[in-house]
């Protein structure tokens, strides 16, 4: 039987699901190997019977966490899709301030007291709430990597992410390192897999795919200091997708 696949979204821009739909001609192949049973971006039918759950978005409210726990209980395999689900993504930036202040800033004096829709806590990544089997990192995800991961899961392989940094793909693309022209880049500590798309387009990597398992933080900081990057600029970039992650 084909594995049944469900997509769920929490706090996200749904850009990652959109990237799945954008598989274009490959989407037909995808549905020939899996049954997509729940997918808000593309269909209305829903069911609670699924084998593989793809979770997009970060977790911000008790009601979301409850729903996520139910999904975990239903799913054989749970995959965190995209940076928001993987690291908390940009959503985590608001964890710099107390939740109350954030609410005040966003909702002003509106009456939200006791309404579960607005009962936010500090942003969590999916694996801060439930066990995650596999991650498909990136903001947004790379659709080729998505396709690769799905085929590997479908064939009974353990999908593996690269254990080397973005620099490897950057070199293979024969880019001029952005440090050479005054930009700075988290490529050396960030997990590859996006084909170094940002440096290839002349932008430093923001680390949207998360750090490597053993990022060489000190060596990377020395490099940034050597190129005149201030600690403040560095922290801004480090925080963007990896707020308060281990390592610095």
């Amino acid at each position: 039987m084909k594995p049944r696949v469900a997509f769920f979204d929490f706090a996200s821009c749904e850009g990652c699901q959109l990237n799945v739909i954008n598989l274009e001609e490959k989407i037909l192949d995808l549905i020939s190997i899996v049954d997509v049973v729940t997918f808000r971006e593309a269909m209305t039918e829903r069911t609670d019977e699924y084998d593989i759950a793809f979770i997009e978005g970060s977790i911000n409210r008790p009601m979301d966490e409850e729903k996520l726990k139910k999904i975990r209980a239903n799913a054989k395999v749970l995959v965190a899709l995209g940076a928001c689900a993987h690291t908390g993504g940009v959503n985590k930036l608001r964890n710099q301030w107390p939740v109350e202040n954030v609410k005040k800033e966003v909702y002003g004096d509106a009456d939200i007291e006791g309404n579960p829709l607005f009962d936010a806590f500090q942003t969590k990544a999916v694996d801060e709430c439930v066990k995650v089997d596999f991650y498909i990192p990136g903001c947004p995800i790379d659709r080729n990597e998505f396709a690769r991961m799905v085929t590997q899961i479908a064939m009974g392989r353990t999908p593996k992410l690269p254990t080397y940094p973005v620099c490897v793909e950057c070199k293979k693309n024969e880019n001029i390192c952005v440090f050479e022209y005054g930009e700075f880049c988290l490529g050396p500590i960030t997990r590859a897999g996006c084909d170094a798309i940002c440096p290839t387009n002349g932008e430093g990597c923001d680390g949207c795919r998360g750090y490597l398992d053993d990022p060489k933080m000190n060596a990377a900081k020395d490099v940034m200091l050597k190129y005149g990057i201030t600690l403040d600029m560095m922290m801004k970039k480090l925080n963007m997708y990896n707020y308060k992650k281990e390592g610095y």
Partner: protein, 631 residues
């Protein structure tokens, strides 16, 4: 020597482009730097470049190439994919040509890599003399600013005229077909000589002294510089990826989303990356950044020189430019080492290598059918296989094969049967995706086989001796091949003693062999388990393998001892049998490393400069005991 006016030279290039001489790839600007890229017009060619970001090796060994294509809906449908596009490389600098000559030795001398060979034969190389020196290069000290072989044409841009030396018939043909050169004048020839001489002496970065890289490295394996520099290392691999003499690769199977068709691809890999030496059991053999950082220098400055006779650095300086912490510059490191040589000299002996010049399809697996499947315990299963070609697999005890399931991957597995039968046996332990997938197969199913590879047990040398076999865990699998060989040829061997230890009673392997050995005349078998957990039963010896050594009755001076087991075991067993007086040359071991290619190309299996896939996996202890990375 020939010559063309600048105008005619440009016409020559343009004609090759327009008249489809092949894909013309030349040096073009890329932002403030340069790269090799298909030329649309001669006007884009920049012979005044200093250096390209990536070396031209990318045209001969692409960053990613498809080796095989397969269709897994069929029992065994696999095809080799070879690129036969004609290419003309224009503007290769001499140092890069020297590097290509080195790559030719590695890929063509022994176990000819056909993918590389075809691409190389289809490529015409036009070398161009250096007009501008990149700031981190030090070719002058190595003599690599000039080159005298390998190229088809060698051009020197003198401004108004381009002087052309012809290297091969292929070069002559190209030149005659697309241009009508005149002979170069003596003064032009003189100008070329002068230009080269000036270039050679213009390098400001030089070797501090006339030292020999290999000699310096031999003395400095423990030098503090390795650790000092490695602390700054990002483990980013850039220094290897951009290097014209780095040729290691990784192999991966990819499926299309339809799960029917797929391909096996190879991509550049580098020894600075963390998982370069990772094996199936999860062990990494060069774990610290320091070991990886140091390995690169030793490979270039000692191991390849010992094997091929050349220092595998051409002084291009790409690594120095592209290493962000700036610790990858061989010149700086070598100069520093030469200036502060350590007291202690430590030779790193590399066993003699025989260059075999084997030319056969190396990367294409042949099909084999599973005849029998015998589960030994929860993790391990013994498979009996037969080649579908009807031919017998010709192997020696101790050799290994690469086993493939298309779409999942390939792994080295040692052969555990004694040669002779029509079939062969493999013991496979469920460890990762591939071995899990193999476990799902049933008799009648097919797998891909490459090999046999490696150096097995030297049966000629072993015959006539007393034998002591010491096996730990699944080390008994390869050991069984030589044990049964000696028992199949019983009259050729004297006393046989077998020691076998494993974790617990349930993980004991090859019960029927153990029973048979137990009963055999002139064979002493001792077994032990590390411990016996509740629920299992055992009334034999309990303790690690070394506790069996005192029980064995053997003459330490006159017995060949063969040891195969998990990496951790060797040190202790060797210590104990040496204490009993067994001479080093009578100790034989078989070692495990990551073996992707099996043929000395991918670089993963190296123990210092020794290739486990070629010189091993069976080694005489005396040959490797000095190698720091071996045991």
């Amino acid at each position: 020597m020939k010559a063309l006016s600048k105008q005619k030279w440009l016409e020559f290039i343009d004609r090759m482009i327009k008249e489809d001489a092949g894909e013309v790839i030349g040096v073009k600007a890329k932002g403030s730097r340069f790269h090799f890229s298909p030329l649309d017009a001669a006007a884009d060619l920049r012979l005044d470049y200093d250096i390209t970001l990536l070396p031209p090796k990318k045209e001969l060994l692409p960053t990613c190439e498809s080796l095989l294509e397969f269709d897994i809906s069929q029992p065994f449908d696999v095809q080799v994919k070879k690129e036969d596009q004609k290419k003309i490389l224009v503007g290769v600098h001499p140092y890069d040509m020297v590097a290509i000559n080195m790559m030719d030795r590695i890929y063509l001398d022994t176990h000819v890599d056909e993918h590389y060979e075809i691409r190389r034969n289809n490529t015409t190389i036009i070398v161009s003399d250096i007009l501008n020196i990149p700031d981190r290069a030090f070719c002058g000290s190595l003599g690599t600013h000039v080159v005298d072989t390998g190229y088809d044409l060698l051009v020197t841009d003198l401004g108004d005229t381009v002087v052309i030396a012809v290297g091969t018939d292929k070069g002559t043909e190209l030149l005659d077909k697309y241009a009508s050169p005149r002979d170069a004048t003596d003064s032009e020839k003189g100008d070329v000589e002068n230009l080269r001489e000036t270039t050679g002496s213009s390098y400001t970065r030089k070797m501090a002294d006339d030292y020999n890289w290999s000699e310096v490295l031999k003395e400095n394996y423990e030098h503090p510089i390795w650790d000092e520099n490695a602390r700054k290392c990002l483990s980013c691999g850039s220094c290897t990826l951009v290097c014209p003499t780095c040729v290691c690769y990784d192999v991966e199977d990819e499926m299309e989303l339809n799960l029917v068709k797929g391909k096996r691809t190879r991509t550049w890999d580098g020894c600075l990356l963390k998982d370069f030496t990772l094996v199936g059991s999860g062990e990494t053999f060069r774990e610290s950044p320091m070991e990886r950082y140091r390995h690169r220098y030793y490979r270039k400055g000692l191991y390849l020189p010992q094997r091929f006779g050349f220092v595998a650095c051409v002084g291009c300086g790409r690594c120095a430019t592209q290493c962000l912490p700036d610790i990858a510059d061989p010149l700086e490191v070598m100069n520093a080492l030469a200036a502060s040589s350590m007291e202690e000299k430590k030779e790193l002996p590399i066993p003699e290598v025989e260059v075999q010049g084997i030319k056969e399809e190396l990367l294409l697996p042949v099909s084999a059918t599973i005849m029998q499947k015998h589960k030994m315990n929860d993790l391990e299963t013994l498979y009996t296989l037969k080649l579908d070609s009807g031919k017998k697999l010709e192997y020696e005890p101790g050799q290994f094969v690469e086993v493939s399931i298309f779409g999942i991957g390939e792994a080295p597995i040692s052969i555990s049967s004694s040669p002779g039968a029509e079939t062969f046996e493999l013991l496979i332990r469920r460890l990762g995706d591939l071995t899990t997938a193999i476990e799902r197969l049933m008799p009648g199913d097919k797998v891909g086989i490459r090999g046999p590879f490696g150096n097995g047990f030297d049966t000629d040398e072993l015959e006539g001796n007393n034998m002591l076999y010491i096996g730990g865990g699944c080390g008994l699998a390869p050991l069984r091949s030589i044990i049964n060989y000696s028992l199949d040829n019983r009259k050729d061997f004297k006393d046989v003693t077998i020691l076998y230890g494993c974790k617990d009673p349930d993980s004991q392997l090859f019960h029927s062999d153990l029973d048979r050995w137990e009963k055999m005349e002139g064979v002493d078998l001792f077994t032990a388990v590390d411990s016996c957990p509740d629920g299992q039963c055992w009334d034999g010896n309990t303790g690690v393998i070394t506790t069996l050594i005192p029980k064995a009755k053997f003459d330490p001076k006159d017995t060949k001892v063969i040891i195969v087991g998990p990496p951790i075991m060797y040190k202790f067993v060797i210590r104990d049998i040496k204490a009993l007086g067994v001479p080093d040359e009578n100790i034989i071991v078989s070692l495990e490393r990551r073996m992707k290619c099996g043929v000395g190309k991918c670089g993963h299996c190296q123990i210092n400069g020794v290739y486990v896939c070629l010189e091993g996996p069976v080694f005489n202890y005396k040959d490797i005991k000095e190698l720091p990375e071996a045991l």
